[in-house]
Symmetry: C2
Subunit: 373 residues, 2 copies
């Protein structure tokens, strides 16, 4: 399987440029005929150092060191997220050249991230980190969470929290190298999730902020309670009296719209069906089944047994008698009914019909499938 490793890129590739201290690298780059020349010069300082042994740690850049430890192979894909600074960009080019030199069939892409720099914190917050997160989300969409590894070993320390957050909430693992170690640390996707209910109440506001620039006063008018404002603060950035979506806010919206997992919600009828009937059977575990189909699109598709029309589907776990009538509504998997074929007969689908538009009220509220007896 092709892995895609997404790396933030710093300037450690330039460590062997003689007599240039990290703070002065940007001046040094300016003194070169072109960015391309500068990158070539940097590359030549380590081109002949093979990616192995002690050199990894002491002579090669943080990105190269970590990529080797992660175990990239020809045919994999590496995405280098470079800062908007010239020195950062040069280093990314030098790293790319090196990777191509030793892994000829590796696909390497450099993306220079607008606003990503460390001199202007405001610009970092309101542009750099938002674009940075945006780039990662795009790759996750393209290649799928389980084929991606995030690698925050190189680059600004201030990016680490965001990389970890994206990893956690989109279910992508994060591998990074321990400063002077030779092993990488793995942060597997954690069982955490956004508290999504905050979104429902303020959906209109999120969409407004996404499409328009609104003023802070307008934002405050939209969020009535102080405790709500406090809770939602991290989703927005405030700058010169104007409000935009923060990096966290856009991550949140992406998770609402393209959820990495769905959450099952049971109708009032399905609660009765599951607790009073199906759960009593020795070989049926309705809650585990519904969790599994909600967590994986692939499993979900495999379990579709019949299309009941109007967006409703009948799911069948396997050789058991339980059947579930469900629909997908954004990040929610709505469970309308849960029945037993041995009770309803082989023609259960024509017997039990629901018109979601006209009958919804007699099924609602759909309660999140999270309970205690």
């Amino acid at each position: 399987m092709v892995k895609t490793v997404i790396c933030s890129v710093g300037i450690s590739a330039a460590r062997k440029i003689p007599e240039v201290r990290p703070r002065d690298l940007s001046n040094w780059v300016k003194q070169q005929p072109s960015v391309k020349d500068a990158a070539e010069k940097i590359f030549l300082t380590f081109r002949d150092i093979r990616p192995e042994g002690e050199s990894l740690k002491s002579e090669l850049s943080a990105e190269i060191h970590s990529l080797v430890r992660i175990g990239i192979t020809d045919g994999d894909r590496v995405i280098l997220l470079a800062s908007s600074t010239e020195d950062g960009y040069c280093c990314a080019i030098a790293v790319e050249k090196y990777l191509h030199h030793y892994w000829t069939n590796l696909e390497v892409q450099i993306k220079q991230v607008q606003g990503l720099q460390v001199l202007d914190a405001e610009l970092f917050r309101t542009r750099g980190v938002i674009e940075f997160v945006g780039h990662i989300l795009k790759e996750i969409d393209k290649y799928g969470a389980s084929n991606i590894i995030l690698n925050p070993t190189g680059g600004y320390k201030a990016l680490v929290p965001y990389t970890v957050l994206v990893g956690m909430l989109k279910g992508v693992k994060c591998d990074y190298i321990f400063e002077q170690s030779t092993k990488f640390l793995e942060l597997p996707p954690l069982p955490v999730e956004f508290i999504r209910s905050s979104f429902e109440t303020h959906k209109g506001l999120f969409e407004k902020v996404e499409n328009d620039i609104i003023t802070q006063a307008e934002w405050e008018r939209n969020i009535y309670y102080d405790d709500e404002r406090e809770r939602l603060k991290s989703f927005f950035e405030f700058s010169d009296g104007q409000v935009i979506l923060s990096a966290i806010g856009s991550l949140f919206l992406s998770e609402i719209r393209k959820p990495s997992v769905r959450v099952p919600f049971l109708s009032q009828k399905a609660i009765k069906d599951c607790f009073e009937n199906i759960r009593q059977l020795d070989d049926c575990d309705p809650f585990r089944f519904l969790s599994r189909v909600a967590a994986s699109e692939e499993t979900f598709k495999k379990k579709i047994h019949l299309d009941a029309g109007n967006g409703l589907l009948w799911l069948k776990p396997g050789r058991t008698t339980d059947r579930y009538l469900v629909s997908v509504e954004g990040w929610r998997l709505l469970v309308w009914r849960a029945i037993r074929e041995d009770q309803e007969g082989a023609k259960y689908a024509s017997k039990i019909t629901v018109n979601p538009e006209t009958e919804r009220r007699s099924y609602s509220p759909f309660m999140r499938m999270d309970f205690v007896d």
Copy 2:
């Protein structure tokens, strides 16, 4: 209000020791008569540089720079989490001396974190970072999440993900300085939570691993399904065929046992009460009220109206007619009934009684208060 700032500490305090490169600091310390002497020498290199202006960024240590930007004042408390290395510890002492020099009434504590170093990744994972997280959790217990600021500006980059995680999941804000900037970045507590239901199923295993060392084979026997193992992996560390709780695992257990917020769960009767009755009233919002009392212990205590015995309490929102019969069960706030005083009369508490031990079955399942109409 006294703030407590918890800082991871690195070795940037030693940047002015002449001719010592960061990698050689540990040797330099060994050559000094004692750790105390080394710390004193480091301190003297910056004692007379006042904590202000350009020096903050270019001459003082990362910890001092960020503490000044965060705005510590006399009377506040600073906790310095030092690595287990001698050079790290020396730097922590030097920072402490400096802080006392300029803020005479600041309380400063140094905690040397066992196993916290960067040469042995295994030791970092199985000891250092677990102790690091343990120290932070202890302080949160002692001083309360809202009085604490986490500051990962100094110290190992590998600690940043863990600091951020603790902050997010315990509701503590994280402030750190942007590398070459003069402003700090604030990561406010995010609306995220652990998916706690994974705990219930494996409670016994968590407790066993916490109290005993168990083998990997035993761990696998306890977690039947592959997808479950994958999901729970981050809570454990595997080393030499043995299993211990990881840093994330102990954070999770702490959140289960001393939840920073509770989650409301509605009984089958309370679902009917809220949706069919109370929600219809113009001036009542049962869901907002229950969310608020679940989120804050202080608000919860203020809203207790009557003690109904057997661990049950009647809550009263304010001047409205709605009343809620609740009990606290770990991280869950169980809502047994929701009634209207204008319907049940002033003596509702003696009229509506519940014996949770004998009658629980007719109220269960309690469903998490998260729904869609």
